[in-house]
Symmetry: C2
Subunit: 327 residues, 2 copies
Amino acid sequence: MARLLTLIENQTQEGLDGLAALYPHTGRAHVVGITGAPGTGKSTLVNELARAFRGNPEDDQRAAAPTVAIVAVDPSSPFSGGAILGDRIRMRDLSGDPGVFIRSMASRGALGGLARGTAGVVQALDAAGYDKILIETVGAGQAEVDIARAAHTTLVVAAPGLGDDVQALKAGILEIADILVVNKADLPGADSTQSALRATLEMAHPDGGGLATAGHHAMVEEQPAPAEGWAVPVLATAAIKGDGVEALAKAIEDHRGYLIESGELAQRERARVRAEMESLLRDLLAERFLLRQSEARFEEALEKVITRSIDPRRAVSQLVLEAQAEA
Amino acid sequence: MARLLTLIENQTQEGLDGLAALYPHTGRAHVVGITGAPGTGKSTLVNELARAFRGNPEDDQRAAAPTVAIVAVDPSSPFSGGAILGDRIRMRDLSGDPGVFIRSMASRGALGGLARGTAGVVQALDAAGYDKILIETVGAGQAEVDIARAAHTTLVVAAPGLGDDVQALKAGILEIADILVVNKADLPGADSTQSALRATLEMAHPDGGGLATAGHHAMVEEQPAPAEGWAVPVLATAAIKGDGVEALAKAIEDHRGYLIESGELAQRERARVRAEMESLLRDLLAERFLLRQSEARFEEALEKVITRSIDPRRAVSQLVLEAQAEA
């Protein structure tokens, strides 16, 4: 499994072929995205969530508990070895439970590469039969939003002292949250963080419903915003002590039920597949074009743009028109 | 100017035409990217940096001081109005100085849209003759890395209590830093944050040089890593009091001198233009393809992928092959 995931993550031909073969078996897992600023204790929370889903190891019923895969999207530097070290530390925490699989993804150089690699790994884990797939992303950037968008249920994690000021708004990912979590709730200021987040939610949604008002939806094309009718809960946890994690696991289950009943799950799935196909189309067309094009011609155009004798957009248009005329 | 920037940010035809007309006048400005986690006081630091570059308002020499444009890439939600409010607050700080221009960008839904809009706005400000363009991004995600990559000089900002643990590594943007800043240096723990960052840098680069060892460079394709021979400084500032900001402004100037002398500036520019052209090529080809394609056919393929009767990659290949056969 680990080897296949590496092939998929690196987008090798073998990995892509494997993914194509697995594709018919996907679509069963509940994919949960967990994001938030550094320092909010997301890794610990994700580990404890996995434990909560798995239940008591002494329990005879454990065979019936959902299996869990954790995908940690960790932008650690390639030279730090952070991803591998992180896996080892986590493995120790959850060791001995064959119902839990952990995988870290290192950030790659190219925009979109990380999101695509993660999507492939999630599909493979889905096909392999994991019931819950927890994707943990560090940070609050656009790529994190895109990765969260691939999830069915998105948690945004805050912590006291980080999330109780205007930064909570600035983090700008409140609007993708299905569930808000104030972790490290045993620290001072947790209550005010929770209140601030509630106030922010209420400001945005005075109707008390979900975040997707019609007007907002129209501005953010194709983005499957949290469904109307789902009131985003703000939950407190102290993951390091295990406090509040059971309630969070229940809220995640509740959200899944809501998605299925409301038909929102099918809508989100459609938007996700459409975005994936459009992205693949872009890559395939560009790859085919550059293969047929002489490299010298692209370099010539590049040189003209660098010397400012033509703007990049017109240079690219000309390349495409010339290629068309020759075809 | 503000109207033109809006047209460019929204990628309207008028904006794109304006950008093409301005393009020959670009390439003069020094573009500085400032990034880091929320809560590190980046906005205050950027304001104070602008003030440091501008010099004393009473000074007769001010006419000779560099002009400054600030581009704040603010992922505030579209409904919060955060970007506009932010501009007003900042305008008050730097008010009355016609040599400073401030522009906030709101995050858009589409991956890459924000990076592209920001690049266009920076080009327009460059053509308009601003000497220093400060791009401030919130967060530590992939999109921030990409935006930083478009800058000549990249600052990564940390703060005590946020950056002094393993999260500093996890933020994973150390490797794009030309200059590291510990802001809020008047708070307890600033020294240990600075030491931790220095230790991290030394671990990564035991030779004491820049971050771009040959092995590392090879792993991160096309990414213009910080140049060899530039020793990344770790500077302390307390922007709210103005402490250390002059020294930071000087380090930014030093880095610019280094880039020019070493030839690294030209290399970074070439990598940036190549990436921009490849991205434009992807978009143009996909747009042309979808225009010629019947919408029904794409929807049909989408349906097949959703029902798992074909995988997305093969579905897209088939669409392209069918279109080619018909042409």
